[in-house]
Every structure is written in structure tokens, then in C-alpha cells.
Symmetry: C2
Subunit: 226 residues, 2 copies
């Protein structure tokens, strides 16, 4: 167990992990179906046969990527720390934030995570659910402390807040383009911060007119439409 440890200096890792990282990169960049086993092998600089030899099937390789990404985003220090800190686990929000702080290195992981959330059901579903639970608890604590609004439907409010936090990950391309940049740069993310906090503090509407109308509309029973 001691002698079998590898260097893990990120530069030259185990062959298996190098293949897995290549798969994360290409799956995240082009999607699962559009990425061939041969392309992954080429990226990892091994033969196509070796990829299958290590993972069995392409689908199993995908699952290994899923598990790696989930473990990575939920682990205290990512691939950097190796057990020195005692913190047991982190939240999805913290993990994504940590990745964003080092965008260049973790862009493949972010792209992969975005696809996990929008493609087919995957381990990311549990991540999302945990994020919602954590958000709901956070809002409840904030409301108890008097610094947050509870809202009429705490669960749905938590779902919306959680989903909105993930939104930049999914619409990265469009957000960047809309402000005249390519992709979502660090500068663009920083520019998002203040407007987001403003919206979460004062809202968008300066009056309660729409809110009143919405409440009235729901109260009078909206069984029919148009």
C-alpha cells in the first residue's frame, strides 16, 4: 500500500486516470455520443484496446467519469489536498465555486458537470437534490436570523434559488456572448456578482403590483386559461 502509491503530481498520473481525464475532457467538450473510444485513446496517448481493457465498455468509462467528477466536486480540497484537512465533505455550491476560482484548470470538469445536468439522468441528480436541501436549510436559518425572506413556499423557493445558482454553468456560452466575450471568462463571472446580489437584495420590481396581482389571480382559482 505504500510502495503502490503513485506520484499524482498531476503531470504524470496513472495510465488509468489519464484515460479517465481524457474522457472527461472530450465527453465534456463534445458530448458522449460524439466522442469515440479511439478519440479518447488518442487524447490519452494510448491504444483504443487499452481503454476497453481497463474500463470494459465505453458506458462503464462514462460511469467512472461521473463518479470521479462527483467525488471531485464534493471533496474538501479537490485533487490538491490529500487528507491533510479534516473536513469530511463539501457542498456542490462550494465545489463549483472552488472550480470557478481556478477556471483554467477545472474547465473540463465544469463542462462535464454541465452535461451531466442536462443530458440523461445521472449521479448529478443526487448532487442537485442535495444542493436544494442545503439551500432550503440555509434559507430557513437565514429567515430565523432575520436576514432572509422565507417566502410563501420555502421548498419551491429553495429549488428556484438552487437552480438559478447553477444557471451560469449551463448558459455559459450565451452569457459570455451577450456581453461581448468568448466563453465565460473570470472577468465576466466577476461582473455577474454585483448585479446578482442586487437582484437578490432589492429584487427586480420596485412595487408590489405584480405580486399582488399574482396572489389575487391564484386566490380566485385559475382552473381555466386564456
Amino acid at each position: 500500500m505504500v510502495l503502490n502509491m503513485r506520484s499524482l503530481t498531476a503531470d504524470d498520473a496513472t495510465t488509468v486516470s489519464r484515460i479517465r481525464d481524457a474522457a472527461v475532457l472530450l465527453f465534456g467538450r463534445s458530448g458522449y455520443d460524439a466522442t469515440s473510444v479511439r478519440a479518447i485513446a488518442a487524447e490519452a496517448k494510448v491504444s483504443a484496446g487499452l481503454v476497453i481493457h481497463h474500463f470494459g465498455t465505453k458506458e462503464a468509462l462514462r460511469l467512472a467519469c461521473d463518479e470521479h467528477i462527483v467525488a471531485e466536486v464534493m471533496s474538501p480540497g479537490g485533487a490538491d489536498a490529500s487528507g491533510t484537512t479534516g473536513a469530511p465533505e463539501t457542498t456542490l455550491a462550494d465545489g463549483v465555486q472552488r472550480w470557478i476560482d481556478n477556471l483554467d484548470v477545472h474547465r473540463p470538469a465544469l463542462d462535464y458537470l454541465a452535461r451531466m445536468l442536462t443530458d440523461r439522468p445521472s449521479l448529478a441528480d443526487g448532487l442537485f437534490d442535495a444542493l436544494v436541501d442545503r439551500t432550503e436549510a440555509m434559507i430557513a436559518e437565514g429567515a430565523a436570523a432575520g436576514v432572509m425572506h422565507r417566502g410563501s413556499d420555502p421548498r419551491m423557493t429553495a429549488v428556484i434559488v438552487a437552480a438559478q445558482g447553477l444557471m451560469p454553468l449551463l448558459l455559459e456560452r450565451h452569457i459570455g456572448r451577450a456581453i461581448g466575450e468568448a466563453g465565460l471568462s473570470v472577468a465576466a463571472i466577476r461582473r455577474m456578482t454585483l448585479p446578482s446580489v442586487e437582484l437578490y437584495t432589492h429584487g427586480l420590481y420596485a412595487t408590489t403590483a405584480l405580486l399582488d396581482a399574482t396572489r389575487a389571480g391564484l386566490a380566485s382559482g385559475e382552473g381555466t386559461h386564456s
Copy 2:
């Protein structure tokens, strides 16, 4: 031109449009790469050769689907109205809202649109940009009328509001699951309305503590991190 018009009763349309609709359905459900020309042909109850005969290539069929969806979501009355109303065009937000009002019928179109936004660059990019422009103008008008907050960065604020409006489309599956439903039902969408308006009216934060801290942090220059 008179005799060549088809019935268009949605039940039995032109063969070409039936193939296109089948492609929209399957591309939206499973993605472009995971959908074969043969599967589209089977769904449209024609031969695989006929699909290629009409559209040339699978990629050209995809483009036809893109154009159809864009035209459909931007047209005044969708496939229903046929020029009786004089309205020239609609916005993406209005079109999506119209689709949601009739979820069962337009679910394939919604699924397809969601993939257009997250997959590769497509005609949906222009749709998003137009939505941001329209949102920015709307907020400017609202601010001038005193019913909305302008925000310190109107452009980015518009981007965020626009993107947040699209979010339920992209995270449909997760939102439904988080509140214990399968998919995003009409009931679930209705349940989202009030909490969304509440957030847009009062915000999430009851104090300006975080906002003040954010402003202070940005003002003091945040060139270094951690």
C-alpha cells in the same frame, strides 16, 4: 398555389413536414447523435432513403428542424393561426409562454429548444441575444416608469434576468424531481409562479449586509484571490 395547399390539420400533414416533426421529437428526446436516420424514418413511417432524399443529409435535416423551431416560437400564433392576426412577430419569452400554456402539444418543441440552447452553437443563439435585448429594453422602460430597479449594470442585469427565465426549460427534470413530480407538469409550473414573483419583488436577502460587503469588496480592488 391553391390546389397545392395541403390540409395541415396537424393529423395528416405533408410527408416532408411529418419527417421533420419526427426528427424534432427524437432529436429533442434523445439528442442529435443518439438519433439515427432510421429511427426518424420509422417514427414518420417512411423509409430511411426517403428521409435523405428530401433533406440531403442528416445535418441538413437538423438545420431544417432548427429553422422550424425558431420560426414556430417567434410566429404570432404558432401553427394554429394562419395569417388572420396582423401581429408581425413575437418574442422568445412570449413564444415559450405560449408553448407552456399548451404543454402536452408543444413538449417536443420545448425539449428541442432546450437542446438547441445547451448543445452546439445554433440559431438559438440569435434567439437568446434577442431575448436579452428585449429584456434590457423592458427593464429600462420599467425603471423609467418607476416600477423596476435599474441596477448598477443594466446589461448584465438583463442577461441574468433573461437567463433565469430560460432556466426552468433547461433544468425541468431536476425541478420536477425536487418537488416530488416526474418531469415538469403544469401544476409544477404554476407552483413556481408565486415564489418567482416574490423573489423578483422582495429579493432573497432581508438586509443589505451582503450587498454592502460586495460593493466594498469590489471597490477595494480584488486583483488577488483567496
